[in-house]
């Protein structure tokens, strides 16, 4: 026995023990409930299942309302490992319904096992019919998510429209708004208008119990958002023209671009060889992509906006315009041509034609010598005090025509072409060069590189007599009153519009009177055209043709470029002419020509080695 006093002291000690124990418990509870916020998050992730609701992607129409790109309902099959039936399920049936191999299913389930709570994609692009069969199967832990898959009903415009694929890891890094498994437009219209076409994802928050069974929507859908469908686009493309263009360009490497001069709308844009954008969508994408990647003619390279070609004789039009503006050339000026232009040992050859000749005939018959004179006159203009200064002036003119720089079209990967600057020659010739050194520029050869889009734009500039609108591919966006302001702005060149008439005259004459473009004649229309035959180190000459029609109030400006196609008149011209015919008259009256061009196969040693 202990005495009362000791008993009292011990009671106090025990009280302290009780207080310490309760203090510990209270402190711990306070920490968990008030300070550590982790548990709220964990509780939410226990209970909530966020289901992303994908919006249908905006569709793309041609200028007449035909579908270029459609969105088709399809489903992604997801699995949450933790919620799967632990007793197993009929894997063979699931594979059968969704069309995946048992091996792939096993592999996906192994992936899912790593993060048992996260939804993991098992199979995508499941058509609606299969999805309904899946729903009836009642596979626990699996669910289908609504997606849309792209379909290109006309199978045209591979590089023009682009395609839609899963986002790549590098894209994800730069675009935090995307999640792995999202689809994104790649190339062409699909990537240029991605933010509009994409729409906005919605989310549905569901509550589930510990077995993963859905118990209803979280907070009665208070935090749910509806997906916002992507905007529809009306493209400037004329599907018929595009179809015919691709057909005519088949078997050839090159590009053809048609623009409506009055608006800058791109009516057609063919990069050849092309591909069916449908090939790059869906389950076969991987194989098809590799096939395209290994194709030596490089079909996934959009030559129409990225190719760099010597413009050849079509560039004489620019040369003439600059000469007129600079006052070193008058329309009546005659220059001699004796099968070419010779200074000392330098000789620029030409075909035989009457000499001397004036500007309009020089254009129509595409005389090389004439434009050598003009070019030298521009560069050697005494008021600039030297060829190099003259060259700078000339280059500024050329740039004002949209060459050597990006036009600012809606193609994100637009190329700039190349117009050499003075520094290049200074470096190459150690400062000592003159107009003869760069003489090949006078006839669109040499270092000059133009994109087919820039060449078509040149056709539009001449058709407009002096200005252009930035070529663009989209005519109308659903829910928008207008396009980007830059597409409504007139861009004038540095050449006064009054100087264009003689050039146009020369182009008309080339088609209708005595020029190289006579085959481009269309009954009832005043067609203007200029052929080009560009020498190049990769084999036969490139064939190019630049044209617009009708001469007054032109409706179409076109540039066709066929690599190694020979004379301008032999490959590029008939293609351009047929396209003009279709666009202006809505019919083709020369089916035999279509047949001939379609069967025209060009040999490409540079690609097919």
């Amino acid at each position: 026995m202990i005495d009362r006093e000791e008993g009292y002291r011990r009671m106090k000690t025990l009280q302290i023990v009780v207080f310490v124990i309760f203090g510990l418990l209270m402190g711990r509870v306070a920490y968990i409930q008030l300070i550590d916020t982790r548990y709220k998050e964990l509780a939410r992730s226990n209970v909530m299942r966020r289901e992303v609701q994908y919006p249908p992607r905006g569709e793309v129409f041609d200028r007449r309302g035909a579908y270029l790109a459609q969105s088709r309902e399809c489903y992604d099959l997801m699995v949450v490992y933790r919620e799967m039936d632990k007793r197993g399920f009929d894997t063979a049936r699931l594979c059968n319904i969704t069309g995946i191999t048992p091996r792939r299913l096993r592999q996906k389930l192994a992936d899912a096992r790593v993060s048992p709570r996260a939804p993991v994609l098992v199979a995508n692009y499941i058509p609606k019919e299969d999805k309904l069969r899946f729903d009836a199967g009642g596979f626990r832990g699996f669910y289908a998510v609504y997606r849309t898959v792209r379909h290109y009903p006309l199978s045209v415009g591979g590089n023009l429209l682009g395609y839609v694929g899963e986002v790549s890891a590098s894209y994800l890094k730069n675009n935090p708004a995307y999640r792995a498994g999202d689809y994104v437009g790649v190339g062409g219209v699909e990537s240029a208008y991605e933010p509009l076409l994409r729409g906005r994802k919605g989310v549905k928050i569901l509550e589930r119990d510990t077995h993963g069974a859905i118990k209803g929507s979280y907070m009665d859908g208070l935090y749910d958002t509806l997906p916002e469908p992507g905007r529809h686009l009306v493209s400037t493309i004329d599907a018929r023209l595009q179809l015919l263009g691709e057909e005519l360009m088949r078997g050839k490497v090159g590009a053809a671009v048609a623009i409506e001069p009055a608006t800058g709308e791109i009516l057609m844009m063919v990069s050849s060889p092309t591909y069916d954008p449908d090939d790059l969508v869906g389950r076969e994408r991987g194989n098809n992509y590799m096939k395209l990647l290994h194709n030596k003619r490089n079909p996934m390279f959009n030559r129409a906006v990225k190719g760099k070609y010597p413009p050849g004789s079509t560039f004489k039009l620019v040369q003439g315009l600059i000469g007129l503006q600079e006052g070193v050339l008058r329309t009546t000026d005659l220059h001699p041509c004796h099968e070419g232009y010779s200074v000392g040992r330098l000789h620029v050859g030409c075909h035989s034609h009457p000499s001397p000749l004036d500007l309009s005939y020089a254009i129509s018959t595409s005389c090389n010598a004439y434009f050598c004179y003009v070019f030298r006159d521009i560069l050697e203009n005494s008021k600039y005090g030297g060829v190099k200064n003259g060259y700078d002036v000339w280059r500024d003119y050329v740039l004002s025509f949209g060459f050597g720089r990006r036009l600012g079209s809606d193609f994100l990967d637009e190329g700039s072409g190349y117009v050499p600057d003075r520094e290049l020659y200074d470096k190459r010739y150690r400062g000592s060069w003159n107009s003869l050194t760069v003489l090949s520029l006078s006839i669109g050869q040499g270092e000059l590189g133009c994109t087919p889009l820039q060449m078509a734009n040149l056709a539009a500039i001449i058709a407009n007599r002096g200005y252009y609108y930035i070529p663009h591919i989209v005519k109308q966006i659903e829910g928008c009153d207008s396009l980007d302001a830059r597409f409504y702005e007139k861009h004038y060149t540095k050449v006064d519009p009054k100087h264009f008439e003689p050039i146009v005259e020369g182009m008309w004459r080339g088609v209708h009177v005595d020029g190289t473009s006579r085959a481009a004649r269309l009954d009832g229309y005043d067609v203007c055209g200029k052929t080009g035959t560009a020498q190049n180190p990769r084999g036969r000459d490139h064939s190019t043709f630049l044209s617009f029609a009708p001469k007054d109030h032109p409706r179409i400006a076109i540039s066709v470029y066929v690599e190694n196609g020979g004379f301008g008149a032999s490959a590029a011209l008939p293609i351009a002419s047929l396209l003009e015919e279709l666009y202006l008259t809505d019919t083709i009256r020369r089916p035999e020509l279509v047949e001939r061009i379609r069967n025209m196969q060009i040999y490409y040693p540079a690609y097919d080695r």
């Binding site: 008993g7 011990r10 009780v18 209270m26 548990y39 226990n46 209970v47």
Partner: protein
């Protein structure tokens, strides 16, 4: 018969605060059980197939028991303490032999759909027996013989309960250390007992050498504290360590290293302890003998921890202990339950999600949410405000019981009240501690709150006996003043 007129009233002298606290806690428990088992889709919310409707019945039955307890004469408890204890032991053994196994513990009797756990009633019987033994006039806790008697009184049912695989409930009886301390057990004996328990847990983490040295130091340290003889004990210690080192040096070479420092120290310390034991016995140093006893007992005990761990504990218990000690960490395994419990409580925040609004509870993320993990329901639905209220109520009840004990005139009543307080304290510590990750998971209920008739009735009887004993003291004193 004034005493009769005033004293025979059933509620005369009943401590109203204790009853009020009891009622509040039971009510809160019932609300939590309702929240944990409410099923919106059920046909009828008043059907007796629901836990909350069944619990209403149990509460009613518990109150009938409480009235019955209050009706009995105080002398009854005194008289029947030993028979009740014996009956309790018999029931425990019977459950061990013929009982039904639930959750791995063979600790249940089944009558139709009604299941009783005899351990609940064994706790009451043991508390009564302890009170009876320690209140004997000749009992002195400083005497070795009495200490052994009280130790046996506690350890016999504890052993049987552990054999039933109901380790959690068994350890509850260990909480009587609280009572022994109040009744004069030398604090230098309490400390080594607690330390040895800590060592048992630590034995999974420490090397045998570290364990042995700490054991020697703990036991010698407490013996020094009791006897006050510092110098001789330090000489003793130094001699033991020196002898061990010498022995190692001498024997290491001839035995080719078979004898290392650990084995040498083990041998020397056992020999030294045996010698010291004989010395202490001759000189009647009973407390020194206990220190030596603890040392030798632990030496037997500690090497068997691995055996105990593997054979006595259930696999899930092993996992829980290992996970608690941080040796294995597997969020989806043993940790899962505790983690989910913490998530439920933590997600309640300050004010909670509201009655029947707890998603973790409602959707079944918390295991055993209406029984052992009932505190999670409180935490999630009533938030910090709710958990604090419950903790304060329980704390007040325990302090009130200690206060009731202190005001008893008879040691029997005081000791019994402390027994009740210690049982409740241990239950609260372990039950709430496990839901917040302070204590390894042991399946013991939260008093008065967890679902289950047998537990509620047993706790009610346990508490109301204390109230009855207290009431008689007060009745008596009221009557005394009245005369």
């Amino acid at each position: 018969m004034t005493a009769n007129r005033h004293g025979s009233s059933l509620f005369d002298g009943v401590d109203r605060w204790t009853v009020l606290l009891y009622l509040l806690i039971v009510a809160a428990g019932w609300l939590s059980i309702t929240a944990a088992s409410f099923d919106e889709s059920a046909a009828s919310i008043f059907s007796f197939s629901h836990f909350y409707m069944k619990q209403i019945v149990w509460i009613g039955v518990a109150w009938i028991f409480a009235l019955f307890v209050l009706l009995l004469d105080v002398r009854f408890y005194h008289m029947f303490a030993y028979p009740a204890y014996l009956a309790g032991i018999v029931l425990l053994v019977a459950a061990l032999l013929f009982g039904r196994e639930v959750n791995g513990a063979k600790a249940w009797f089944e009558f139709g759909s009604f299941r009783v756990q005899p351990v609940e009633f064994a706790k009451i019987a043991t508390a009564l027996a302890i009170a009876r033994l320690m209140s004997e006039y000749s009992f002195s806790i400083t005497r070795l013989g009495d200490l052994v008697r009280i130790g046996l009184l506690i350890c016999i049912p504890l052993g049987i309960i552990v054999l039933q695989n109901d380790t959690g409930s068994g350890i509850v009886l260990g909480s009587f250390l609280f009572v022994l301390y109040r009744e004069g057990l030398n604090k230098w004996l309490c400390i080594p007992i607690l330390l040895v328990v800590a060592l048992f847990i630590a034995s999974f983490l420490l090397s045998p050498m570290t364990l042995l040295v700490s054991l020697i130091l703990i036991c010698t340290g407490s013996e020094i504290a009791i006897s006050g003889a510092v110098r001789s004990r330090i000489v003793f210690l130094a001699a033991v360590f020196l002898a061990a080192i010498l022995l190692t040096l001498l024997l290491a070479l001839p035995t080719h290293g078979a004898v290392d420092l650990y084995h040498a120290l083990l041998a020397v310390s056992v020999a030294a302890a045996a010698g010291a034991g004989i010395y202490a016995y001759r000189n009647r140093l009973s407390e020194s003998m206990i220190a030596i006893g603890i040392f030798l007992g632990s030496l037997v005990f500690l090497p068997t921890t691995d055996y105990l761990f593997e054979s006595v504990l259930q696999p899930h218990q092993r996992e829980r202990i290992l996970s608690f000690l941080g040796i294995v960490n597997d969020p989806s395994g043993a940790d899962f339950n505790v983690n989910q419990a913490k998530i439920a409580i933590g997600s309640g925040g300050l004010f909670g999600k509201g009655f029947l609004q707890g998603t973790q509870i409602k959707y079944g993320f918390v295991p055993e949410r209406h029984t052992d993990f009932i505190f999670c329901t409180v935490g999630e639905e009533w938030g910090f405000v709710g958990t604090m209220t419950i903790l304060v109520l329980l704390c007040l009840l325990i302090l009130r019981l200690m206060r009731m004990g202190e005001r008893q005139e008879e040691p029997f009543g005081r000791i019994y009240c402390y027994c009740v307080a210690s049982i409740l304290l241990f239950h609260v510590l372990v039950n709430i501690g496990m839901t917040v990750g302070l204590v390894p998971v042991m399946g013991i209920p939260l008093p008065f709150m967890s679902y289950g008739g047998s537990s509620l009735i047993a706790f009610t009887i346990l508490l109301f006996i204390a109230i009855r004993l207290d009431a008689s003291t007060r009745q008596f004193s009221f009557n005394k003043y009245r005369h």
